[in-house]
Subunit: 452 residues, 2 copies
């Protein structure tokens, strides 16, 4: 009989399961959305660590202790977020130390870091800030590069008296996502990979590598439907979809002893995805449509201008999210009023009269007007009916025209075309914003398609 | 001895506590963020129903049943979201029915609604869609106006055999927020208010009314700090803060027998808030800065144009979120490149040379240029360094100038001014986007301040 080598998850190794326990009354009041749970679950899944439970409790020591006991009874790793701050109702560390019977001690390295942090921002350090450097004896400390509360881990194997919780790990991280996320990436991920190596009695450290396949024009459920078997059966690499606003990203993650071993597993999976849904794949590791546009224009040494009606500046906003976009994006005209379409984009009055502002002809004149007036190589335009009012039988809410104009300065050749889109989301209460977002995505996509 | 009349929460009535149990493997994989838990917690807090726990489990009948049992052991009301769809792994209703020992029966009214829904969108109804109209016997059904899965409630008092769970209520709602949120507002909220009236042996139905105080220029923690005592001690009305992107909203909610009774409780609390932090209150029930701007300009019959550099279209995007903004917002120029500042906004070349693109002088010329070129009453502008690169000692990342120009057509009087802002968020990893967002908010706020 052969020993079973793989239980589940990434790549033929023994695996751990984890659960996430978020502490914070503001979560129970609904004042903030729990993005930490989603972030951690996704990162754990990428590490091949599956999460069966997420929980939220308030800043209450008794309920936190009960919840921690329940979590430890059913999971190998418990990640607690929040409650590491300086005030009296921050009690995560203290509660965990109490649970494991550990003393709290001043961690000198953390105290020094705290003092430096306060000095750097010219802020006064109050006595209760020092509390943030108190740590349960024997824990692993994760420094915080974006705030004051260090993270920590208690590995309970060390505590030989408590046999029940042997080989259990409790990780505590600060609540603010801007502190938690980089701390996970820089400190917790390597920590977990080491834990995993040890569990597998491996002398090599296992590393993880990912590639992200960027998809536009297909919903997440369609992608899942098309690739379900492949996604479910793929263990190393794992393939997981992330729906972003109007796009889908497939993350392909492999574990192995080095980068090359990982990439040899990842690359065939990326090719397989392209073979199945290639017409919707607009890039690999390009992050977003707007980033893909900036990268492509930089590569081609071309400039872009925008002419936006129904999107009202959203295309410009998305492109200017990308640092350094100024080398390719010149700017644009938000032509909400028809007089501005005429005076700033040279739209002919007769075009507006004959075809209307929401028409293929207007979209075509707008993108050309943007390129000519703003002196760019490429112009892109949107005009449509975002609703909720203004729709008619002929031109219903959701009708959007996207125009694109490209004049090759060397050859004088032109591409000048418009697409008619029906972006209605009648079953959605935020229909207007979804139509606008989708219109801006289509516009960016049309710019990319000039070169495919 | 007097009978204790109030346990906690809104207005001198006996209260219930609730917990939220979200079902969905996609939550455990981190593919989606759990906005439902935040929405429901917030709505429950407004109803004076406090939530001590939120949990997430996957699409797994056994773990769901165990979690339901745990939740029922500690809470009066359990709201389950997700798992009401048509596929084999949607098993919330079936699991709850099994738990309470109830039969599943076809709910004819729901079946009819389903048939109509599919006919309306010309979609074929498959046999497993009918599963969505199967309901546990004796439950309350909540129709779904935005999708196919009805919601439901099981009131276990009816089930006399199970004494342990007497007076417990399990509410099940569809997972997609666009279906869950309107269903809560239209169906679940009145249902819970009735439940509460019955608990209080009141023949009158209790109603809830809210007013939202809109605040800009103060962080959520500052607002809390300033109003902590008032917020913690206020029971009817309750006062709760919601941090929105760059703004804070204080929701003041009262319960009473009618609208007047509620408003008589709410209005003094709103006045109290204004007395404490009035300079930061820009409106009551105006929803957002962009909505406040559109309302104010409509009231004054004035038009606006934008000139955006570092915000790259974000101000235009935010204003055009508001349906019907076209009566006051004409459009704008996204002047990312300096040549566009010169050619489209009449910025003097010498201004750019002498003071630079990021300067008070440029901001002043930009807003005036927008108003003059686009023929609006008011022009607003932004120019700044959003980073991460491009900062210097003199002009660091986060330096933004916001300009505003207003010419009164009748009197010829002008307001023309610029504000210098330091919007640096050095401790935040998404610093660029936060600076841009904050700059756009300040620009909208400066437009509002023209009239205060």
């Amino acid at each position: 009989m052969r020993k079973k080598r793989c239980q589940s998850g990434v790549g033929g190794y023994f695996n751990m399961n984890a659960e996430i326990l978020c502490v914070g009354t503001e979560l129970l009041l609904g004042s903030i959305v729990n993005t930490n749970a989603a972030f951690l679950s996704r990162e754990l899944a990428n590490l091949g660590v599956f999460t069966y439970y997420q929980s939220v409790v308030g800043d209450n020591s008794l309920r936190l202790k009960e919840s921690l006991a329940l979590s430890l009874s059913r999971s190998d790793i418990v990640i607690i977020t929040g409650g590491l701050g300086p005030t009296y109702d921050d009690l995560t560390k203290e509660t965990a130390a109490d649970y494991f019977g550990l003393e709290m001690r001043m961690h000198e390295e953390s105290l020094e870091r705290l003092e430096k942090f306060f000095a750097q921002f010219n802020r006064e350090m109050t006595p209760n800030n020092k509390k943030q450097a108190l740590m349960p004896e024997g824990c692993v400390v994760f420094p915080n590069n974006y705030g004051t509360a260090p993270g920590l881990a208690i590995i309970s194997a060390k505590n030989q008296e408590n046999q029940e919780n042997k080989n259990k790990t409790v990780i505590m991280l600060p609540g603010p996502p801007r502190e938690l996320e980089p701390m996970f990436e820089e400190e917790v991920r390597p920590f977990l990979l080491k834990l995993k190596s040890r569990l597998n009695n491996s002398r090599d450290n296992i590393i993880l590598t990912s590639k992200n396949v960027n998809i536009f024009g297909m919903g997440e459920s369609q992608v899942e439907h098309k690739l379900r078997g492949f996604m479910q059966n793929s263990q190393n690499p794992t393939v997981a979809p992330y729906a972003k606003t109007g796009e889908v990203e497939l993350r392909v993650t492999a574990s192995g002893r080095d980068e090359k071993e990982c990439l040899d597993l990842i690359n065939p999976a990326v090719e397989k995805i392209k073979a199945e849904i290639g017409e919707f794949v607009y890039g690999v590791d390009v992050k977003s449509l707007q980033n893909a546009v900036v990268l492509k224009l930089r590569e081609k040494n071309l400039t872009l201008a925008t002419a936006e009606s129904c999107t009202g500046g959203l295309i410009g906003k998305r492109i200017t999210e990308i640092p350094g976009c100024s080398s390719v994006y010149l700017g644009g005209v938000i032509a909400y009023d028809n007089n501005i379409k005429i005076s700033r984009l040279n739209i002919k009055e007769e075009t507006l009269e004959k075809y209307g502002a929401v028409s293929e002809q207007t979209a075509l004149e707008m993108c050309r007007g943007a390129a000519e007036n703003l002196k760019s190589d490429i112009g892109v335009s949107t005009t449509g009916i975002a609703g909720p009012d203004g729709g008619t039988d002929d031109k219903p809410v959701g009708l959007v025209y996207v125009g694109v104009y490209y004049k090759d300065k060397e050859t004088g050749g032109e591409i000048h075309k418009a697409a008619r889109l029906n972006l209605s989301r009648r079953t959605h209460k935020d229909e207007r914003e979804l139509i606008r977002l989708s219109a801006s995505s289509h516009a960016l996509y049309e710019v990319l398609r000039l070169f495919s």
